[in-house]
Amino acid sequence: MALKLMKGNDALAEAAVRAGCRFFGGYPITPQSEILEYLSKRMPEVGGHFVQSESELAGISMVHGAAAAGFRTMTSSSGPGFSLLQEGISYIASAELPAVIINVQRYGSGLGDIFQAQGDYFQAVKGGGHGDYRMIVYAPASIQENVDFTTLAFDKADEYRNPVLVLSDASIASMMEPVDLPEMHEHDPNKSPHAAKGKGNGPFKRITSTMYYIDDFDTYIKTKYDNMAANEERWEAVQVADAELVLVAYGITSRICKEAVMLAREKGIKLGLIRPITLWPFPAKAFKALPDTVASFMTVELSPMPMIQEDVLLSLDTRKPVHNFLAGMNIPEPIDIVEKAADCIKQTAKGACNG
C-alpha cells in the first residue's frame, strides 16, 4: 500500500474518478474550487466529461441529465452555491436517480466568508430542497475519509437510487494528509437499470417524479427512507464506556474533541465522544447504547447557534441535558473544550444545566 500526500479537495476528486464518476458539472466557489480544477484535468484523462457550468443551477441540472443517462456523476459547491443546488437535488431525489453532491462548508449565511464552518448542518440533513426527500449525509474528518466516504457515496447512491451528500468543510478541503487511494472502478452506464439511452425496440422511459407511476406512493417513499434511516447510521464512539459527559461533534471538530478527550482523561475528567459519521441518518443508536454513567452531553459546533444539539436531544428523547460549545468562526482549542465540559459536569451534578 503506497500512501500519497494529497490535499483534501484533490483527494476527494480523485476518489470520485476512481469510483467511476465520468461526468462532473460545477461552478467555481471557494473553498471547493480545487475539486473543479482537479477534475477539469483529470476527467479527459479517463474518458470522462467535465463542464464548467454557467451556474450551480445549470451544473446540478447537467448532473441530473448525466445521471439519467446512467453515468456516475457528481457536482460540488459551497455555501451560497449549495443553496442553488437544492432545486436540482430535490428533482434528482424525486426522479430516484443516483448522484453525489459535495458541499465544502464555509462560514455564514448570505455571502458569508470562505473559512471553515458547520453552519449548513440543517440545510444538509433536514432537506434543503422542497418536498419529501432525504439524503444520506457523510461527514469526513480526514483526507482519508474524504476518499472513503466519496467512494461509499457513489455505491449508496446507486444502491438507493438517491442523491448522497458528502459534507466537508474548508479545513478538510485545504489540509494535506497521506491517503490510500482505492483501485480504479469502472462503471458501465449501459447496465444502469434506469439509464435513458433511446427506447430501442422496447417501451419508452419516463424519467420524472416516480410518484406518477407508483401505486400507494406515500407508503413506498416512506418505506424507502425508513430503510435508509434504519440501515445506514454510522458513527464512531471514543471512550464512552465509563464517560460522565459525552462530546458530540462531526468532521473537523471531532478531531479536536478526540484530543480534548485525551487531555481530560489525563486530568481525571471522564469525557467520551460520539462522532456522527452519517449526519442523516443521525446515529440515534449510538446514544441508545450508552451506559448509565453518562449524565450529560456537549455538542461542539463550528457555528454561532446550536444545530446538532437538536438531533442529540431527539436521539435521547430529551431525557438528559445537552450543552453546547459554540465555536462560531473560531477553531476551538482542546483545553477550552475540556474546561467547558468540566463546568457542565459540575452544573449537571447540581441539577442546573442549560447552555
Partner: protein, 247 residues
C-alpha cells in the same frame, strides 16, 4: 381504402387544448424522427409547462427537467451519450424566462443538441401570464392593462440573441398554414441533421397559437400570428452551416 399513418412516437392522443399549436408540432417532430430513423434513439429533455403533457403521449425516452433547465440537462445527456439524438422541447416561458441562462449558454457552448422552442407569447400551463415574449400592449392575467414595455421590456427575440453565436442552425417557423407547417417541419429536420452530422447547436423557434389563454378563436389566433406576431418575430432560417435538406 384509406390508411391513417400515425408516426410511431405518437403513442396516445395528445392532451393539448383545442386549437393549440403543440399538437401540430408534436406531429411534425414525430414525423421527422421517424423519417430520419431516430425515434428509437432519441432522448428528450422536457420542459415544465404545457410540454409536460407529452410525457405519456410522445413515445421517446424522456427526462423531465426542472423549470428552465432543459438545455443544461440535455448538455449532461449529450456529453455522456454523443451518439444519441438529444433534444429539448420547451415553451417560451421555460426557455426564455426562467431558463434564459441555460438556453443561451447551451447555444454559447455550441452544444450538439437540438432545441425545439415553442413560442406562444404567454405562460400557458399556469393560466396565461405575461411572458418575456408577450407583445407590447398584450393583455394577460398579469398585464391586465396591456404589456407596458416601459416597465417590462420589449418582446424577447431569442434568435437575435443567438444569431451571432458560433452555432450550427437557427430558424423560426410557424404553424399557421399547411405551407408554414411543411416549412417548419423542414427546419426541424435541418436541425436534427445538423446535430447528427456533429454540426453543433441547432434551434427551431416555432410561433404557436394559444387560443385558450389568448381568449381568441383558433382561426383568429392563426390570423393574429400571421398579421401581428410575425412582425415582431420574422420567420426564416437565420444560421445554416450545413447543407440544405430535401423534403
Amino acid at each position: 381504402m384509406v390508411e391513417r399513418l400515425i408516426p410511431t412516437a405518437l403513442v396516445e392522443d395528445n392532451k393539448f387544448c383545442p386549437g393549440c399549436g403543440h399538437g401540430i408540432i408534436n406531429r411534425i417532430l414525430a414525423e421527422v424522427l421517424d423519417e430520419m430513423k431516430l425515434t428509437d434513439k432519441a432522448i428528450g429533455s422536457m420542459a415544465v409547462g404545457c410540454a409536460c403533457l407529452m410525457v405519456d403521449t410522445f413515445g421517446v425516452d424522456w427526462i423531465q427537467s426542472p423549470h428552465g433547465r432543459a438545455a443544461a440537462l440535455a448538455t449532461g445527456i449529450k456529453r455522456c451519450r454523443p451518439e444519441n439524438p438529444v433534444f429539448t422541447y420547451q415553451g417560451d416561458g421555460d426557455s426564455m424566462s426562467i431558463g434564459f441562462s441555460e438556453t443561451m449558454y447551451a447555444a454559447f457552448r455550441n452544444e450538439n443538441i437540438t432545441a425545439i422552442l415553442v413560442n406562444n407569447g404567454i405562460f400557458g400551463m399556469t393560466g396565461g401570464q405575461m411572458a418575456p415574449t408577450s407583445l407590447p400592449g398584450q393583455k394577460t392575467v398579469t398585464s391586465p392593462m396591456g404589456r407596458n414595455t416601459d416597465l417590462t421590456g420589449q418582446p424577447l427575440n431569442i434568435i437575435n440573441q443567438m444569431k451571432d453565436l458560433n452555432i450550427g442552425y437557427l430558424a423560426r417557423g410557424s404553424v399557421t398554414s399547411i405551407k408554414n407547417i411543411n416549412r417548419v417541419k423542414k427546419y426541424i429536420r435541418n436541425a436534427f441533421e445538423t446535430q447528427m452530422s456533429g454540426g453543433g447547436y441547432s434551434m427551431v423557434e416555432i410561433l404557436s397559437p394559444c387560443p385558450t389563454n389568448w381568449k381568441m378563436m383558433p382561426d383568429k389566433s392563426l390570423e393574429h400570428i400571421d398579421n401581428t406576431v410575425t412582425t415582431y418575430y420574422p420567420l426564416g432560417e437565420y444560421v445554416k452551416k450545413g447543407g440544405d435538406s430535401n423534403e
